[in-house]
């Protein structure tokens, strides 16, 4: 039987015990008080009767004998011994003079002129009582402070004259031993009862909380997965009901768990199958990739070689033809790349190789590759990269593809003399520093109802641009996939006839990290100065085209 300080068991036990103890204590106190009152009343009644019975004898004795006469004293002594509660008898005349006091009895001496005059009663109440014709009782205290009762009984001589009163002082001190005994006995019994009641209380509390403990341990077992545990409480009451319900619940739980485990197993098997399929798809992809790229290598290689006149001289016509071959090879190559990229993405796993990298150099590279197309259309491409923009965090290769795709799209859909702008500026909070990157053009724009569709696979606005720039319509689908893999999305703002802006947000290195990485991030060519100005201008006349030189 364990008792913890705050447990239900303890609290119940304490409650029960307290109640019992309270009852016992109240009882005992009541008993004692009542008995005491009773005893006092008894004493007082006896004293009254005593007064009634003895006053005449005392009175007549006083009349007959001298107060110092031993016969009188003997009389008083006898009378006093009849009632142990009376500890003093005084004889007082109606004027209030105390003629005799039993407590002064031991004084010897004769009557005479030396005797002190009789004392006068001071207390007005006593005085009144002495003069009264009927008995009276006065409560008071004796010299040691103990409670007393004084019965003043008038003495009438034979012919009815009242000259004296006899005052009996009743002292309750005889009660004390009796009361004391009572208190001890009652106290002892109470204590024993208290002890007993504590035991009873604890036992009762136990009875109540034991089923709860059983329940608790049962629940614990279930929580740990031992669904076979069953509770047995046979108290034929609400707790038994609880136990039964609990057992029922356990049974159901077990069923459910078993069902879940079944499902899990099946899912696991399916998962394995899927993984296997995935593996097969990867292998297929790798093979296809190889089979497509290898022939391309040979074709491209030889074409380049021949064009470089390494296999002998070629005519202009032959050259023209081979250039066409080369161009189409590029187109084919790009398509294959897009398809393969896309297939990989479709499988669902885009593994990102996250690293911080600076935007400007990347942009340079892309733009350099597209320079001829830009020139052909007379398009201006400006880069507005915020000064001091920290390196962007992401998969450099894939984000390069994203930018390339977006710029190529801008290229496709912006008419001659238009402008393409690539901008990057800091956004976000100190806790999550980011950069907003946008590719805007002054092109034909996209109709509002088309905007959602443009990211669909194989969506194409029209096939003429396809012929010129190549592409199977996967560009934007790939852009979306890659950006989503980075945990961000791409936004589109467009107005027909005005232009389009694609935007997306990427995290950047925060200040501290950027500062630490700075020496590595900026190559020896000193990019900071360039970041303020447009990176590259593509002008209509090739002669004016400039390269950033530092």
């Amino acid at each position: 039987m364990r008792l913890r300080l705050n447990s239900l068991k303890t609290r119940t036990a304490v409650a029960i015990a307290s109640v019992i103890v309270a009852i016992l204590v109240v009882n005992a106190v009541y008993l004692i008080l009542t008995k005491r009152a009773e005893l006092r009343k008894q004493t007082e009644d006896q004293a009254s009767k005593f007064a009634l019975l003895t006053r005449d004898r005392i009175g007549s004795g006083y009349d007959t004998y001298d107060v110092k006469d031993f016969k009188f004293r003997r009389l008083i002594g006898e009378i006093l011994s009849l009632n142990p509660d009376v500890d003093r008898i005084q004889i007082i005349d109606v004027d209030g003079r105390i003629r005799f006091d039993s407590t002064q009895m031991d004084e010897t001496g004769s009557h005479g002129a030396d005797d002190p005059p009789p004392r006068l009663v001071q207390d007005p109440q006593r005085l009144a009582a002495v003069k009264a014709v009927a008995d009276s009782s006065i409560r008071g205290r004796d010299a040691s402070g103990r409670e007393t009762l004084e019965i003043v009984a008038p003495y009438r001589e034979d012919w009815g004259r009242h000259t004296l009163s006899v005052a009996y002082r009743v002292n309750y001190r005889n009660l004390e031993p009796r009361l004391a005994r009572l208190v001890y006995v009652t106290g002892g019994l109470s204590l024993a009862s208290i002890l007993l009641s504590v035991l009873i209380a604890v036992s009762l509390a136990s009875r109540i909380t034991k089923p709860l403990e059983v329940l608790t341990s049962g629940v614990k077992d279930i929580a740990e997965g031992h669904f076979d545990r069953r509770l047995s409480i046979t108290s034929h009451d609400e707790l038994e009901m609880l136990a039964e319900t609990f057992n029922h619940m356990t049974g159901r739980l077990r069923e459910h768990v078993e069902q879940l485990e079944e499902s899990n197993k099946k899912l696991g098997a399916v998962n394995e199958e899927l993984k296997e399929l995935d593996r097969m798809k990867s292998d297929l992809l790798a093979n296809v990739s190889h089979e497509l790229r290898t022939p391309l290598t040979a074709i491209k290689g030889y074409t380049d070689y021949i064009l470089e006149r390494r296999l002998g001289a070629i005519t202009e016509k032959q050259e023209k033809g081979l250039v066409v071959v080369q161009r189409n090879l590029e187109r084919l190559s790009k398509t294959i790349n897009a398809l393969l990229d896309f297939s990989r993405m479709d499988v669902g796993r885009i593994a990102l190789n996250l690293q911080p990298f600076a935007l400007s150099p990347l942009l340079d590279q892309i733009v350099t590759g597209l320079r001829s197309e830009l020139e052909k259309k007379g398009l201006k491409l400006t880069a507005e990269i915020e000064r001091g923009l920290p390196p962007v965090i992401g998969d450099k290769e894939k984000l390069s593809a994203v930018l390339e795709n977006l710029i190529i799209n801008a290229l496709k859909f912006t008419p001659e003399g238009g402008r393409i702008t690539v901008s990057a500026k800091r956004v976000g909070t100190a806790a999550r520093p980011s950069a907003l990157i946008r590719v805007s053009d002054t092109g034909v724009g996209i109709a509002a109802d088309q905007i959602a569709k443009i990211f669909n696979r194989f969506h194409q606005v029209d096939t003429s641009t396809t012929r010129r720039f190549g592409g199977v319509g996967l560009g934007l689908a790939i852009v979306k996939s890659i950006l989503e893999a980075h945990g961000t999305t791409v936004t589109v703002e467009s107005e027909l006839g005005r232009g389009t802006t694609f935007g997306f947000v990427l995290p950047v290195l925060d200040r501290a990290e950027a500062a630490a990485a700075a020496p590595a991030a900026s190559p020896a060519r000193g990019r900071e100065a360039v970041e303020e100005a447009p990176v590259l201008l593509a002008e209509a006349e090739p002669a004016k085209a400039q390269e950033p030189t530092v």
């Binding site: 990739s289 290598t297 290689g301 290769e397």
Partner: protein
């Protein structure tokens, strides 16, 4: 200066011959192998200054060849550049981790290939000079 010798390993004949043609023309000495085993043998015998290694080959793939080349004392010092149609980042990284000096994707432009070869040779020279 002694002519640099390059060992080309690829199971595709067309590629093999093309590369041989191009590299010879450029002034390199060339040895060829169309499979893993042949590659290891030739590497031991010819002690080339560079190996261009294709990855996807039947029987023994480029990774295995690379591993064996690096294990053998005689061939460990020879720089190896992977040449492959596999363009995924993880392959490139794996190549570099396994000890290849570079990774060239197919299809490549001639200029790119030749440029990379030259870079590799100068890198090796620099390293050699530093070691001394």
């Amino acid at each position: 200066m002694k002519k640099k010798k390059i060992l080309i390993v690829d199971d595709e004949d067309d590629i093999l011959h093309f590369l041989e043609l191009v590299l010879r023309e450029k002034g390199y000495e060339v040895a060829t192998a169309s499979g893993g085993h042949e590659a290891l043998t030739k590497a031991q015998l010819e002690r080339p200054d560079l190996v261009l290694l294709d990855i996807m080959m039947p029987q023994m793939d480029g990774w295995e060849v690379l591993k064996l080349l690096r294990v053998d004392d005689g061939t460990r010092q020879i720089p190896v550049a992977m040449l492959s149609a596999r363009t995924e980042a993880k392959d490139r990284v794996q190549g570099l981790q396994e000890g290849a000096i570079d990774y060239i994707c197919k299809p490549f432009s001639l200029q790119e290939l030749l440029g990379k070869i030259e870079t590799i040779f100068s890198q090796v020279e620099d390293r050699g000079r530093a070691a001394r």
